[in-house]
C-alpha cells in the first residue's frame, strides 16, 4: 500500500512537471503582454526598462527555469495588474470559489442522490418519470441562461434573494465565509443552486443507473432471502455498491466545479477565482493565469489521488498496488 502510494506521488509530480511546460509554452503563444501592459506612449528606453523589470527580455528557456525556480517557492511572479504576488491574488479569491463549489456539490448530493434512488427503485411510477424528465432539463439548459432566469425571477420579480456579491462574511480559518451568516447564505443560495443544477442531474442519473445495475443482482435477492428489512437491503447492500461509481465521478466533477464556476461567478458577481481568471485573460496578466492553471493542475492531481484512496476504501476488491 505504502509503495503504491509513493509510486502514485511520483507519477503525480511528473504530471505536474509536464503541465508546467505546457502551461508555460501555451501562455507565451497567446499574446505578447508587453503590448497590453505598457503604455504605448512610453519611449523605447522606458519600455525596455519595464520589459527588463518583468523579465520578459530573457530567452524562453531561461524564463521557464526562472518560473520553475519561483514555483518551488510558491512564487509565480507579481501580477502585472495588481503588482502583488500572483499566487496571493488567487488565494484571496480561492475561498469564495471553494465555498460556492462545495455548496453546489452539497446541493447536488442532497437532492440528486435521494431522487436518483427513488427513480431507480420505482421506475414505473409517474413521479419517477417526472424526475427523469427534470434531470434532462438540468442537463440541457445552459447554466448562464438558468442563472439569468434565477436573477429575473427571484431577485428582480419576487425580490426574495440578492443576486450580486457574497453578502456579509465571517472570518474563519483565515478567510471570509458567506455561509456562516444569514445574509451571506441568502447571497450564496442562487449562485450555488445555479452551479449545482447540472451536477444534480448528473448525480441523479448516476444514482439511478447504479440502482438499476445493482438491484437485479443475485446478492440483493440473497439479502432479501435472508429476511433482511428492506431499508437494510437498500441502504447497505444497494448503497454500498452504488457509492463506488458515484464517489469516483463526483470527485472528478468537483475539480470541474471549481474550474468551471467561471460562468456562475460572472453572472452573480461572485468574487471568486473564476471571475478573476476571466479578467486576467482579458488583460493577459500572465503570472495570474499561470498560477491559476498550475493550481488547477495540482487540484486535479490531488483529487485523483484522494479518489484513488477513497476507491480502495469503498471497494475491497480494488487495491492500489493492483491485486494480490
Amino acid at each position: 500500500m505504502l509503495t503504491a502510494l509513493i509510486r502514485r506521488a511520483i507519477q503525480a509530480i511528473f504530471v505536474i512537471l509536464a503541465m508546467t511546460v505546457i502551461v508555460f509554452i501555451g501562455i507565451n503563444v497567446i499574446g505578447n503582454p508587453v503590448d497590453i501592459l505598457i503604455n504605448p506612449d512610453l519611449n523605447q528606453a522606458e519600455r525596455a526598462r519595464v520589459v527588463e523589470h518583468l523579465g520578459l527580455d530573457l530567452p524562453l528557456w531561461q524564463q521557464y527555469l526562472h518560473f520553475l525556480q519561483g514555483l518551488l517557492h510558491g512564487d509565480f511572479g507579481d501580477s502585472f495588474v495588481y503588482n502583488r504576488p500572483a499566487l496571493g491574488v488567487i488565494m484571496e479569491r480561492f475561498p469564495a470559489t471553494l465555498e460556492l463549489a462545495l455548496s453546489a456539490m452539497f446541493i447536488a448530493i442532497v437532492v440528486g442522490l435521494p431522487l436518483g434512488l427513488y427513480a431507480g427503485l420505482y421506475p414505473e411510477r409517474l413521479s419517477s418519470r417526472l424526475i427523469m424528465s427534470g434531470s434532462i432539463l438540468g442537463f440541457s439548459l445552459p447554466t448562464f441562461w438558468v442563472g439569468l432566469m434565477f436573477i429575473l425571477l427571484f431577485a428582480v420579480q419576487l425580490g426574495w434573494l440578492p443576486s450580486n456579491g457574497r453578502g456579509e462574511t465571517v472570518g474563519f480559518l483565515g478567510a471570509g465565509w458567506s455561509f456562516l451568516t444569514r445574509d451571506g447564505l441568502a447571497h450564496l443560495f442562487l449562485p450555488a443552486l445555479n452551479l449545482a443544477l447540472f451536477k444534480t442531474s448528473l448525480v441523479l442519473r448516476l444514482t439511478r443507473a447504479g440502482v438499476q445495475e445493482v438491484l437485479p443482482q443475485d446478492f440483493i435477492k440473497f439479502a432479501r432471502a435472508k429476511g433482511l428489512q428492506e431499508h437494510r437491503v437498500v441502504l447497505v447492500h444497494l448503497m454500498k455498491n452504488l457509492m463506488i461509481p458515484v464517489v469516483t465521478i463526483l470527485g472528478l466533477e468537483f475539480g470541474s466545479l471549481i474550474a468551471f464556476s467561471v460562468v456562475t461567478e460572472s453572472i452573480f458577481g461572485w468574487p471568486g477565482m473564476g471571475k478573476l481568471i476571466i479578467d486576467s485573460i482579458n488583460l493577459l496578466d500572465r503570472p495570474v493565469i499561470v498560477a491559476y492553471l498550475m493550481m488547477m493542475v495540482v487540484l486535479f492531481v490531488m483529487l485523483n489521488f484522494i479518489i484513488d484512496i477513497a476507491y480502495t476504501l469503498l471497494d475491497p476488491r480494488v487495491r492500489l498496488d493492483g491485486g494480490n
Partner: protein
C-alpha cells in the same frame, strides 16, 4: 399428519410482450413433510427457480403469484403480509442460490453478511452474533473461521462461498431449505463434498429440503421424492424409486433414458427430440405434445393430475406401471 408444505394450484406469471401473462409456473401442486427431501427436476427454463422464488416470496417484479395457495405449516403464504413473509424468510424458509460467485455482496465482510441475518430475526448482541457467525462457518467446514469473518467474498473460492451461503441458510435452523442447483457452478470434486455435507447437516437438523436440479443422478442419491417439471407444470411426481424405476410420463421416461448409467455405457443415449418451447409458444393442452411420440388428438386438452396428491402424473397415455 399435516404436511410442512402444501402447495395447491400455484400459478406465477410474468407479463408477456402482448400484455398477456406468461405462466412460468402453471398450476403446480405438491406436498412436503418435515425432514423430507424433494428433488425438483426439469430442463433449464422449466420453472424450477421461479417455483423456489414463489415459495420465498421473491418473484422479480412485475411477476407475481396470481393463483393458488402455499400452505406453510398451515398458514397460506400467498395471503400473508409482506412483513410476515420477511419474518419467515431466512428464519423458517431459507434458500441457497445457484451461483455462489454472485450471491454474496462483494463489498461487505463475510462476518457482516452472517450477523446481519441474525439481527434481522432476533435480539442478539453484536458479540453473541459474532460468536454464532464463527460457529456457523466452522460448521460448514471453513478453516480458521475467526479470521475469515473479516474477509471479503472475493478472498474465497466458489466452493467456500457456497459453504458460506449454506451456513447463512442454516443459521436459524429453518424448517425448509430451497437449494437451487447449489452445486451446478462448482467443480465436480467440490460438488460431491458440498452435497454430502449439506445432506449431513440437514439430516441432523431435520430440515426439509427442496433440491432443485437438472441432474437426475444427484436427485437419485439424496431425494426421498421427486417432482418433474416441464413448461411450468409438474408433469409427474412420486417416491424417488418408483418414479425413476417406472416413470409413467413420456417426458420423465425420456429424461431417464438420456442419463448415462451402468448398463447403457457404450450405447447411444436416447435424446428427447426437439427443444423446450419458450413460454410464449407453449402449446395448449399438454405442453409436451409437440415433442411426444405418444401424442394423440386427446392431448390437445389439458391432462389433469392422475393419481394421488403425493404421486401423480399428467398424461393421457402414460407408460404402464411396470416398465420393461
Amino acid at each position: 399428519m399435516k404436511p410442512l408444505l402444501d402447495v395447491r394450484g400455484l400459478v406465477t406469471e410474468f407479463p408477456g410482450p402482448s400484455g398477456k401473462g406468461l405462466r412460468a409456473v402453471d398450476d403446480i401442486s405438491f406436498q412436503l413433510s418435515r425432514g423430507e427431501v424433494l428433488g425438483l427436476v426439469g430442463e433449464s427454463g422449466s420453472g424450477k427457480s421461479v417455483t423456489g422464488f414463489s415459495l420465498m416470496g421473491l418473484i422479480d417484479k412485475p411477476g407475481k403469484v396470481t393463483a393458488g395457495q402455499i400452505l406453510f405449516d398451515g398458514e397460506d403464504l400467498v395471503a400473508a403480509s409482506p412483513e410476515r413473509r420477511r419474518g419467515l424468510r431466512g428464519r423458517r424458509i431459507a434458500m441457497v442460490f445457484q451461483d455462489p460467485m454472485m450471491t454474496l455482496n462483494p463489498v461487505l465482510r463475510i462476518g457482516t453478511q452472517i450477523t446481519e441475518s441474525l439481527h434481522a430475526h432476533e435480539r442478539i448482541s453484536r458479540r453473541a452474533a459474532r460468536a454464532r457467525a464463527r460457529e456457523a462457518l466452522a460448521m460448514v467446514g471453513i478453516p480458521s473461521p475467526d479470521e475469515r469473518l473479516d474477509a471479503y467474498p472475493h478472498e474465497f473460492s466458489g466452493g467456500m462461498r457456497q459453504r458460506v451461503a449454506i451456513a447463512i441458510a442454516m443459521l436459524h435452523q429453518p424448517d425448509l431449505i430451497i437449494a437451487d442447483e447449489p452445486t451446478t457452478a462448482l467443480d465436480v470434486t467440490i460438488q460431491a463434498q458440498i452435497i454430502s455435507e449439506f445432506q449431513k447437516l440437514t439430516e441432523e437438523q431435520g430440515t426439509a429440503v427442496i433440491w432443485i436440479t437438472h441432474d437426475l443422478a444427484i436427485v437419485s442419491s439424496l431425494a426421498d421424492r421427486i417432482a418433474v417439471m416441464y413448461g411450468g407444470r409438474i408433469i409427474e411426481t412420486g417416491g424417488i424409486a418408483s418414479v425413476l424405476e417406472t416413470p409413467r410420463h413420456p417426458y420423465t421416461h425420456g429424461l431417464i433414458r438420456s442419463v448415462p448409467s451402468e448398463n447403457s455405457r457404450g450405447s447411444r443415449l436416447a435424446q428427447i427430440p426437439g427443444v423446450t418451447p419458450s413460454l410464449a409458444r407453449m402449446p395448449d393442452g399438454c405442453a409436451f405434445r409437440t415433442r411426444c411420440k405418444r401424442a394423440t388428438e386427446e392431448c390437445h386438452a389439458r391432462p389433469e393430475q392422475f393419481g394421488t396428491e403425493l404421486s401423480y402424473h399428467r398424461c393421457f397415455h402414460p407408460y404402464e406401471e411396470v416398465y420393461a
